[in-house]
Amino acid sequence: MRAEIILQRSGDAAAVAERRERLAAVRAALAEREADVAQTRSQLKAFEGRYLRRVGVLYAELDEIWARITEREVDVYKSESARRRAQEARERAQETHEAAFGAEQQAEEFDPSPSLKTLFREVAKRIHPDFASDEEEQKHFTLLMMRANQAYSRGDGETLQRLLDDHLEVNAAVADEGDGVVLLRLARQIEHAERDIGALDGEQATLLGSEIGQLYADAEVAEREGRDLLAELAAGLRERIADAQYRLEFVERQVIALGR
């Protein structure tokens, strides 16, 4: 009878050890994935900035000239089609301008809502590395804290809420610290880490599949061929801007000739 209990307990202890190992492995994988996604995110952000500065502003310039051309053409042709074209060209020019120059404004305007602040505090006070019970947990809390900080600065309340829910779920009903409870807690922690890996994989795929992600990939391919994709795009656009400028001057001469 007694021997059986000991066997049972040692079985539990082995299971706990095995799960701890598994949790450590999954968390290591998660940390790696997190670093990958963070790198992709910052690479794309930097590339986006370069693209907007070198190419986006030229699109804005081109669309602005075309808006003016079509607006002058209304003076020449005075038809409904001409007016419609001019209106569409103007809307497009505004959109492109916003896209090319709106980025900087957006970066400056980090103003978290009071509810996001409260949520962040709730998360932070639970996962602060200073409150960790052992070294292993401290390492993990440091990672969680970093994740929370990033989510907060992105204004990502969903991730903050998930961090909080996870913490509450893992620490729920732990009055008795028996092996059963420990096992259950470990199972939950593994589950959370695996779910987060899945979410990160999804995010990585979305980032790489987005327009800017694919453009970045194209630029990388070009670079391996010794080409500068952004410079090529900019050169092509400068030619189109010169053509459009010529055309605008032509229409303006027409307007003057017609005395309108």
């Binding site: 986006g56 038809s79 896209a99 327009e211 795009l233």
Partner: protein, 245 residues
Amino acid sequence: MALNSVRSSIFARGRRDAANSTANADYQRGVAEYNDGRFAEAAASLRQAAEQGHAESQYILSTMVDAGKGVRQDDAEAARWERLAAEQGHVYAQANVSFRCYSAGDLAGAFGWCQKAADGELAWAQYNLGLMYQKGEGVARSDADAAHWYRLAAAQGFAEAQQRLGDAYYFGQGIARSYTQAAHWYRRAAEQGNARAQFQLGHLYDVGLGIEHDYAQYRFWTHKAAEQGHEEALREVKRRDYRDP
């Protein structure tokens, strides 16, 4: 959120322009092979570029597949490449899609694609858009819009549009009647060999509308139109030659 979708579209535009660079190696090889008359090889090279999203290659390939040049003729495949190029803003492909829609009786589709190509400054499309407005095909009839598009095509030197714009001025359809303007546009079309414009210009010289009456000019242009088989001109020449050999 709105800013994101606008941003996404400015990135998509860059990608499209980058994919359509004339520096595309497969495209360049395809064009060289085409110019050498090696059509099967050209089709293979252009197909590679087309699959990378190169609009010009998609367009050329669509015309080759349509004509069965270097490849097996296949309407459905031609239509597929044509549409891919059109969706990327290739104006000639847009015009071809419009024509394909028109032939299949899809007037709304024909109008929509023709509008895109016309906005892309393609004279043929501007002229055809004018026709569709004038006949009310795929759009509500509007003589004023018809005249607008004829004028844009005419300014680019498109003879049929110049003749139609001449008609619009002659009849005062969609614009204020002006025989002087009618004569101006008929002349430009007539000089390019447009028979109807030649006949009309002759008529204006005959009656002295918009231009000074000039019998020699009247005979010259009416004969030009008759030489091309213009029926009214032929009748006119017969009638005149009988009285005035």
